[in-house]
Symmetry: C2
Subunit: 422 residues, 2 copies
C-alpha cells in the first residue's frame, strides 16, 4: 500500500514519520524550503531532533508530478481564518485540486483522507466536488473519501499519535477497512464514526469546548482579580468536586482553539441558525484578555509612580503554547504590538520559539539571551515553558527593578512572588 501525506506541518510530519515504519510513504509539501530542511534532517516543528531524524527513513517531495499512483492520500493542510474570521478554505481547496489531478486516470480506487479540522459537511461540500472535477472520477466508484481528524498536541509529550484514539470515517465500507489498517499501524485505539459529518463535528467541538471553558476561566479570573481572591486557589477547591472540569485561564492563540469556533459559527450562519451565542461568546472573552492584561500592567506601572512612556518591559515567552516552538497567532506577540508604542521599550525572550518568518517584525526586540544586569520596570512571564518552570524565580525577579512588577500570567511560581496572575 503506497501512501502519500499532503502537507508537512505539525500534523502531517509526525504522521509521515509514524507511517514510514510500516508503509511505503511519501510526504508532499508545496514549500520547497520545508522539503530542503527535511532533506537536511532538520525538523522545523521542533518535535523530532536532528539526530532522531537521521535515523528515520523518509521520502519527501515538493513536486506534484510525483504524486501519481498512490493508494491513499492523507491531507493535513492548515484551516485558518481570514481577517474577517471567515474560514480560509484555500489550502483545503488547493490540496483537493492537487489530489484530484494526481488521481486522474488512476485505476487503484484511491482513498483520500482529510485530517484537517473543518465544519461538519465541509468534506462533502468542498473537497469531494473539487476532487471529482479535477480527477474526472466518481466518488464511491472510482475513488473513496475518508475523514480522520488530527489530534496532534505540539509540546505535550504525554499525548502523541501512538496513544491517542484516532477517529476514522469514510464514504464507503471497503475503504474504511483500508483506513483501519493504516491507522492501526499508528495507534491501537481506533474509533469508527457513523459518517464523515459526525467525525468532522466531533473534532471541531473538542476545540470549541476548550475555547469556551478557557473563556469561562478567563472571565472568572477577571472577577476574582477584582474581588481579590486567587483564581488558582478557587479552581483547586472547585476541582475537589468529582465532576468539575479542569481548565485554567490563559491566552488562546495558535491555529486551532482560537480558530475552530469560527468554522462552526460560519456553518450556523450558513444554515440560518442565529442562536449560536455560546460559540462566539467564548471567542469574545478570549479575544479581550490581551486588553485585560495590558490594563492591569498600565494600572500598576502608574500606581508605582512610573511614567508609562519611560517604562521598559520584558516579556518571557512568546510562542502560542508552552513547550511548543510555534509562534503563529501568538497572543503574546499581539500584546507586544499593543505595548510597543505606548512604552519606552519591550524586550522579548523565548528559549524555544522557532525562528520563523513571522518574527521579522519583532526581530529588533528579541533577546538571544537574558542579561541579568538589566533592570526592567515590569517583567511578564507569559508562557509556561518547562525552561521557565525550572528557572529560579529569584533570577527572574532580579530582572525587575525595585518595584518588583512581576506578572506571572500562568501562575508558574507561588503567588507571593507576583503582583498579577490570571
Amino acid at each position: 500500500m503506497k501512501i502519500c501525506v499532503i502537507g508537512l506541518g505539525y500534523v502531517g510530519l509526525p504522521l509521515l514519520f509514524s507511517l514510514t515504519k510500516k508503509f511505503n510513504v511519501t510526504g508532499f509539501d508545496i514549500s520547497k524550503k520545508k522539503i530542503d530542511q527535511l532533506q537536511n534532517n532538520a525538523d522545523y516543528t521542533g518535535e523530532v531532533s536532528n539526530k532522531k531524524l537521521k535515523k528515520i527513513n523518509f521520502n519527501v517531495t515538493n513536486k506534484k508530478s510525483e504524486l501519481k499512483n498512490f493508494d491513499v492520500y492523507i491531507v493535513c493542510v492548515p484551516t485558518p481564518v481570514f481577517k474577517n474570521k471567515n474560514p480560509n478554505l484555500n489550502f483545503i481547496k488547493q490540496s483537493s485540486k492537487i489530489v484530484g489531478n494526481a488521481i486522474k486516470g488512476s485505476k487503484l480506487k484511491p482513498v483520500i483522507v482529510l485530517e484537517s479540522t473543518v465544519y461538519p459537511g465541509c468534506s462533502e461540500e468542498i473537497c469531494i466536488p473539487i476532487i471529482e472535477k479535477y480527477s474526472n472520477l466518481k466518488l464511491n466508484k472510482e475513488f473513496y473519501f475518508g475523514y480522520s481528524p488530527e489530534r496532534i498536541n505540539p509540546g505535550i509529550s504525554k499525548h502523541k499519535l501512538n496513544n491517542t484514539t484516532k477517529i476514522i470515517s469514510s464514504s464507503e465500507k471497503t475503504s474504511l477497512k483500508k483506513l483501519k489498517k493504516i491507522y492501526r499501524s499508528i495507534t491501537k485505539k481506533i474509533y469508527v464514526a457513523q459518517n464523515i459529518k459526525t467525525a468532522e463535528a466531533a473534532k471541531v467541538i473538542e476545540n470549541i469546548q476548550r475555547d469556551l471553558n478557557i473563556a469561562l476561566m478567563n472571565e472568572l479570573s477577571m472577577i476574582f482579580n477584582r474581588i481579590d481572591i486567587n483564581t488558582k486557589d478557587v479552581l483547586k477547591a472547585a476541582a475537589t468536586k468529582w465532576n468539575f472540569s479542569n481548565y485554567e485561564p490563559g491566552l488562546v492563540g495558535g491555529h486551532c482553539i482560537g480558530v475552530d469556533p469560527y468554522y462552526m459559527s460560519y456553518l450556523t450562519k450558513k444554515i440560518g441558525l442565529n442562536k449560536n451565542n455560546m460559540i462566539l461568546a467564548g471567542r469574545k472573552t478570549n479575544e479581550y484578555m490581551n486588553n485585560f492584561i495590558i490594563k492591569n500592567l498600565f494600572r500598576l506601572i502608574r500606581l508605582k509612580g512610573m511614567k508609562l512612556k519611560k517604562s521598559k518591559i520584558l516579556i518571557l515567552g512568546y510562542t502560542f503554547k508552552e513547550n511548543c516552538n510555534d509562534v503563529r497567532n501568538s497572543k503574546i506577540l499581539e500584546i507586544f504590538k499593543q505595548l510597543k508604542n505606548k512604552v519606552d521599550k519591550v524586550d522579548l525572550f523565548d528559549p524555544i520559539a522557532r525562528n520563523d518568518q513571522e518574527l521579522i517584525y519583532f526581530k529588533k526586540n528579541i533577546l538571544r539571551k537574558l542579561d541579568y544586569k538589566k533592570k526592567y520596570n515590569a517583567v511578564i512571564l507569559a508562557v509556561k515553558h518547562d525552561y521557565f518552570i525550572k528557572m529560579n524565580v529569584k533570577k527572574i525577579l532580579s530582572l525587575c527593578d525595585n518595584n518588583k512588577l512581576f506578572f506571572d500570567l500562568k501562575g508558574v511560581f507561588d503567588k507571593s512572588y507576583s503582583v498579577f496572575r490570571l
Copy 2:
C-alpha cells in the same frame, strides 16, 4: 458538642441524619408541616425511606426558642432568584436573624456555618453583619463564621455526603478545627479553603461551569438537529479524546445550576464588571431550549397533517432531574404551560415526582398511572428516570398513534425509535 442544623430541605436533612450518628444534633425548620412529617418518619425529599428513617434517632423542631445554647449552627437554606433573576437573599437574611437571636448572650463562642450557595463575599456582606446586629456579639471574639458549601446531589446515589470532598473555611483558626472535627465525622475528604470568599467562589463556579457546558451541548444539539447528525454519536466520538469533558444536552431546571449563574452575574454588576458575557450566555441558551423542543414538536405534528388544536400530548417525567422527586423550577412543567392552550390536551406522568403544592396548577392533567389503551399524537420522554429506562420502549411506543411521534429528549432508547432527541 451540640449542633443545630437550620433548614431541613434537600441539603439540611441528609446533613442532620449524617451528623446524628456522632453528635447531639437538632434540626430546625420554620415549616411546621415539614417538622410534622419528619416526626411521623416521612422524608419529603424521597432520599430516605420511612423504614430507614424510623431507625434514625433524630431531633427536630420549628420553635425558635429551642435554638439556644448550641456550639455550632449550620445554615442550609435555599438561595433562589426573584422573577427578575436577582438573588433572593431573604432566606439567608431570615436565618441569619434567627441565629443572631439564638446566640444572643451565648458564652459558648458559637460557630455559624453557611452551606447555601452564594456569590463570593455574601457571607461577609450579608450574614455576618445581621448576626452581629441581632446577637450583639463580635465576630472572631464572641462568635465565629464558617462557610462550607453543600455538594448534595439529589437522585444520584453514587455521590453522597460520605464520599464527596467537603470544602471548609472559616473566619478564624480555632473554629476551623471545630469544623474539621464535625465534617470529618461525615466524610474523610476535607479540603480547607484559604478563606470564606474562596470557598464561596469555588462552589458557585461549579454550577456555572455546568450550566455553561450544558448550554454549549444544547447549542450544538440545535445545530446537529438541523444538519441531521446525531448529537449523542458526535459526543461519543469526541469523548474519545483524553481531555474532552463529558456533558450532555438537556433542560436545566431546579434550584442550583439554573440559578447560581445569576448570583455571580449579580456580583459582577455590583462591582461594575460588564465583561461577564460567558456566564449569562449559558443562561440564555438554556432558557431557550423549551422553545426549541416545542417548535420541533409543532413542526412534526403539522408535517404529519395533524391539527395542533386537536392534538393530544403525553409528557413522561416532569421533575427537574432524573431519579429525584423535586419539581421546583422544572422546565418540563414550563413546557406543559406553553403547550396547554395550544393543543387539545397534555397529560403528565411521573412515577416518582413529589406530590408538591407547586403541582396544584397541574393537578387535573397528572395521571396516576399510564393507560395503554389511550393513544397520543405525540409522546415526550422528558426525564431519564430509572423507571423509564427499565420500561420496554415498545410499551412507550404503544402510547403513540400511527404517526409514532416519540420525542426521546435524553436519548434513553436507541435513536431508531424516536423522531426527535436533543
